[in-house]
């Protein structure tokens, strides 16, 4: 009975959700076709869909997406390779913490995109600037989450492991890293989110010739609103897929399995 009712209300939610989307699409379509706005500014949905499919089929959209992903991954992995070990060191050694924490407190409130003009002057237009901006955006969430995670490892676990004769290495790999993992994974996720925002902005302002951010900005010059909307859809899809599939499955494979999800939510 209860199962039936839950199913029923779930079905009703789905139906209402679908109805909203349809209604919004219909309203958009009516406004677009009414000719109240120029069709160049508000293309009908059919045109957007056709542009999207065409650009995927002839490969341009795939190239743009590939360039954007390449830049994100470069900057993001750089941030992880530097932020993760540095965060662990900060959590373990007071001296490192004393040095790095004031600096990161001062740098963190500066939005990464504010550095774009400076970086353009220093490194010229192109990939370097974009990758560095992504790196800057992703570094601090990674660093500070790792630091908090390492510091929040329960001291009883450390002492218990020490009493049972764990050496430094075992302590690190078997206690500290798993203990800090909810925070580390939250940091990875947050870093990726920031990188994804930063890469679009950086490509708009410092883009060279490829990339989803650049194509949106470039399409504005020629009033190709259909291209802009099609790229927006692609950007949304990639963001959604990485957030849900990649990080969702990492979480399921690690902290949920180890029974640590509560700590991550806390």
């Amino acid at each position: 009975m209860i199962g039936d009712r839950a199913n029923l209300s779930r079905y009703r939610s789905l139906r209402r959700g679908a109805l909203t989307l349809l209604a919004v699409a219909a309203v958009y379509e009516v406004i677009a076709r009414s000719g109240y706005f120029a069709p160049a500014l508000m293309p009908p949905l059919g045109t957007v869909a056709r542009t999207l499919i065409d650009s995927i089929l002839d490969g341009t959209m795939l190239w743009h997406a590939a360039f954007t992903l390449y830049r994100v991954l470069c900057g993001f992995s750089l941030a992880v390779f530097i932020g993760l070990p540095l965060g662990v060191l900060m959590g373990r050694f007071r001296a490192v913490e004393n040095f790095v924490l004031p600096l990161s407190s001062a740098l963190m409130p500066i939005p990464s995109l504010a550095w774009i003009p400076v970086f353009i002057l220093w490194f010229g237009l192109g990939n370097t600037v974009t990758v560095l901006i992504v790196f800057y955006a992703a570094l601090f969430p990674m660093l500070l989450n790792t630091w908090t995670g390492v510091r929040s490892v329960n001291p009883i676990w450390l002492r218990a492991a020490g009493a049972m004769g764990a050496d430094e290495r075992a302590m690190f790999w078997k206690v500290i890293i798993p203990g800090a993992s909810p925070f580390i994974i939250a940091g990875l996720r947050q870093s990726f989110l920031r990188s994804w925002i930063a890469v679009i902005g950086a490509e708009m302002l410092a883009g060279s010739d490829w990339g989803l951010g650049w194509v949106i900005f470039d399409a504005k010059e020629f009033l190709n609103t259909d291209v802009m909307l099609a790229s927006l859809i692609v950007i949304g899809c990639i963001g959604f897929v990485t957030e849900r599939l990649v990080f969702g499955s990492i979480e399921r494979a690690t902290i949920y399995r180890w029974g640590m999800a509560r700590a991550a939510k806390g």
Partner: protein, 271 residues
């Protein structure tokens, strides 16, 4: 929204040492980095125009502050930030609470929110510029639109997280809908709402500087930095970035920590 440590500044180092020791310890890394910067600048590895020494940046900062250019830019940015953020807070809190209270509103609005949220706000910027024209309107609307998402999400979660037993006991004690809302739901959801506002403000701040670069507004810190690039004025850019850092820190420390101390911490809902 799994933010463990979000936001702008973590606490500076405290510890048991006296205030003087603490200040020295916080200042030490800046002295080291500053000295390295000076060394590179004075060695002339890079042209001074691209890599100005700190004295030049400080002199530019003082000059621009005294002749009123920098305060004017900062004021324009702050006005835009507050306009966008207030719009976002009004709309976001209303929509979020509505979604938390009414099943129908939740079913209708959730698909829209979950489609809009994963798209980085800046990606909308060219679209908004086309629709609303370059200038202040696009900038404010875009900032409001982008920072509304975390606010909606957190208000919705907060209202749903109010304990069922509080609602029932208030109802059993004869609270009507209005009192239930103002005495139970609102205080109960407040920690989440404040988190949402804080995330929204941080988001607005991060996006605004870039929007100012794109939207061709006459005044604003983003525009100052971006315009200085044309003339290779690296010192102006760095002075602008310093102001941005100060404003960012102040937003976090002065606005939100105070607000939290006065509400949720005092009511014992958060320590």
């Amino acid at each position: 929204m799994h933010d463990v440590v979000d936001n702008l500044a973590p606490a500076l180092l405290g510890g048991d040492a006296g205030p003087f020791r603490r200040a020295a310890r916080n200042a030490f890394p800046f002295v080291v980095v500053g000295a390295m910067w000076e060394a590179v600048a004075h060695l002339g590895l890079f042209p001074a125009q691209f890599f100005p020494s700190l004295e030049t940046v400080a002199a530019t900062f003082v000059r621009l502050t005294l002749n009123g250019v920098l305060p004017h830019h900062a004021l324009a940015t702050l006005l835009r930030l507050s306009a966008g953020f207030i719009l976002a807070a009004l709309a976001g809190v209303t929509i979020g609470i509505l979604m938390g209270r009414s099943r129908r509103a939740e079913d209708i609005l959730l698909p829209l929110v979950s489609i809009g949220a994963p798209i980085p706000g800046l990606a909308y910027a060219p679209l908004f510029l086309l629709w609303f024209g370059p200038g202040d309107v696009s900038a404010v609307v875009l900032v409001a639109f982008v920072s509304a998402f975390p606010i909606v999400y957190n208000c919705w979660t907060g209202v749903k997280a109010v304990k069922e037993i509080w609602l029932r006991s208030a109802q059993a004690m004869g609270a009507d809908d209005r009192r239930l809302f103002s005495h139970v739901i609102l205080p109960g959801a407040l920690p989440y709402i404040l988190t949402g506002l804080r995330l929204g403000l941080a988001q607005a701040w991060r996006i605004l500087v870039a929007v100012e670069m794109l939207a061709a507004v006459p005044w604003g810190l983003g525009w100052l930095i971006f315009g200085a690039q044309e003339f290779l004025n690296t010192d102006v850019m760095l002075a602008g970035i310093a102001v941005i850092a100060v404003i960012g820190l102040a937003l976090e420390k002065l606005v939100f920590q105070r607000l939290e101390e006065f509400t949720v911490v005092r009511w014992g809902m958060m320590s």
